[in-house]
Symmetry: none
Subunit: 433 residues, 2 copies
Amino acid sequence: MNGTRVAILSVGDELILGQIEDSNAPFLARELQRIGCMPGERRTIADDRAALAQALRELIAGNDAVIVTGGLGPTLDDITREALLDVIDSGKELQQDPAGIAHLHSWFAARGREMALSNLRQALRPPSARLLANPNGTAPGLAATFAACHVFCLPGPPAEMRPMFTAAVAPMLFDAQSVVLTAALHTIGLGESNIASQLNELMDRAREPLVGTTASDGVITIRVRATGTATAARTALEDSIRIIRERVGDIVFGRDEETLASSVGALMLARSLTLATAESCTGGLIGALVTDVAGSSAWYRGGFIPYENARKEVDLAVNANTIIAHGAVSHETAIELARGALARTGADYALSTTGIAGPSGGSESKPVGTVFIALARREGDVLSRRFLFPGNRAAVRSRAARMALACARVALLDDASRVLLWSEAEAIRVERC
Amino acid sequence: MNGTRVAILSVGDELILGQIEDSNAPFLARELQRIGCMPGERRTIADDRAALAQALRELIAGNDAVIVTGGLGPTLDDITREALLDVIDSGKELQQDPAGIAHLHSWFAARGREMALSNLRQALRPPSARLLANPNGTAPGLAATFAACHVFCLPGPPAEMRPMFTAAVAPMLFDAQSVVLTAALHTIGLGESNIASQLNELMDRAREPLVGTTASDGVITIRVRATGTATAARTALEDSIRIIRERVGDIVFGRDEETLASSVGALMLARSLTLATAESCTGGLIGALVTDVAGSSAWYRGGFIPYENARKEVDLAVNANTIIAHGAVSHETAIELARGALARTGADYALSTTGIAGPSGGSESKPVGTVFIALARREGDVLSRRFLFPGNRAAVRSRAARMALACARVALLDDASRVLLWSEAEAIRVERC
């Protein structure tokens, strides 16, 4: 990998203690790639002058640039200015910057507020650093070059940090010769190791572009990262994407921001089809995922949450004898739920779920995690699949809702890809609608 | 602050590149304080064996313990096992652990799935490390002691990492002399600055225990943090909680893990009442929040997602003329939806939502964010409230679902507290059921 390597250093007790999440570091990581830099190591340090100075020294030694966020406020626990001094101007003192003092006076004057004396700390800088203007707050940033490494100190509040990065840091670091482009392909229906064996040598750590996988709620995401000139990286990225799609095929449901629900919606819209839902164990999660997609009213008619058995019988015409004979959690009930939703709404496709999300309610034959997902198609078959999902109640429900959408998706594709999903299911039953 | 100092090291290209947020590090930081440890420096490293080994060496030298998350998967880009080997068993080779192999075989056998050979990598460990059992996934953790520092390597997925921390790491690091106890009181119905003025001097930054507030999706959470020996911290924490409850009263709906839905459920259960839902704009979110509560089948009968107008008319008996005269997004439709859900299910309470979540569909009289929430009570009134929620589609929907549950909650309490919620609504209409 080439390109300017930039380390990110976040400062603050509130980060170290886990009281707030650090959104600055991921933002900087993404922006750095866009301008041709490579995000390097990331560290988080408490409001501790010596620890921050030590981390700065180590990161300066190993990177082309270091971006520090936080610790530039007016109070005594803001120690970034002092730590930078210790590293780049050891033995000297901070000095007041006239432009910084002018900025502070005009900031408070414009707001008709009195300036606390402590704010004057914010106009201090190490002798060999310069200030970066902050149009969105009182704290100027700091920039310096030391041991051939660019060091930037930016304020912690994202509303101040982000514009300062764009205005003052990005132009200095921009490198058209080595942009880093990334893409994500989201899949469902095969396990991570199975996908890895299909990708095989593409996942070699020395390959360029780099290919890796991550897993979340049953969705396996294949990530590709290409580095080079803007044009070369784009070509290499798209080439890899094409090869990956050829290997893993229809299990890819979306790229980058696309979700399972939006991919189902696109397929439904393209064929002028509509969907309905009848959710027992997922209790509205599928509906929530579907209606999270803007414009879903064009393809989603609505649904039912038949949580108690009476709802299954009254709202979705499940036969009471079916529940007595096979249980509410069964192929038979799932199939009747899907049929009922189809008949009741006049939709083209209907999805149903019934299962045991836990923590109680499991049995030897139907342990916690057992979920039946049925899909009925008008003038077609109704197909029920039995799954056993791992994890706690929330995980079982989340996986079941996503797998249900995946079932709808493969039904909208050809038969060959459907086989993939079948391999995830424990048992399958098909009936005529 | 004293106690065992523990560094946190997160591993993964996807973190370095800012593709996913690291929720593990803040979780560990908070949990470490609960067991009397002090979170130390935090680092994030790419999937790079040499860089990880170097970071491990540096953190081992400066801390009493190091917790690594990620990099334990079955693929070649998972390099935590190898990096740990380089540090604690330099020059030796990873060895297969028989218990690890047995775990992998039984994991796949229990799921009726074939194990890819690559999974066997997950049973490897450095000779002087031991495996930590993972009941929630294939990757065992690793534990070792090197240079008087405890090193723990945990899997990256939070659903696997968290239980492993609790079961295998926390008991080893627990320090009764310097625990940090925290509590959170969740409120809905008053704004953050209003709550802050009631808490007043309790929020002084020099006070012990420390009190602060955070806001999310319309829920304001009051956080308390007490430090000291286990007994002293517990007493101080509960004293503060009692004082805060006295000041802010019934707007507190839950503590710590309690949710709006679980608090509604507890009130419903105590009075043997049941709930039904009819969700247009929230599309199943309320049902999903309700059924996320284990045991909710005792008080939740089920619901409807009447997304298209035909569903409102057919499933919930909304008069077609009502929709023509007042629109689907109106007090009138919300009231008929709630009445319909009540009549159809025989529940004691029924909640309905209808609104404009955006991004399109808004008008001058009903801008994006307009949501009507109605609550019907059997043999009581039906009360519809009009809200204007800020934010994008996801934020409007999430706030609407939470506010609907809050409406149910205040109806279950006395009249005095209901006034609080009314002040949040733009307009209110009450009719007999």
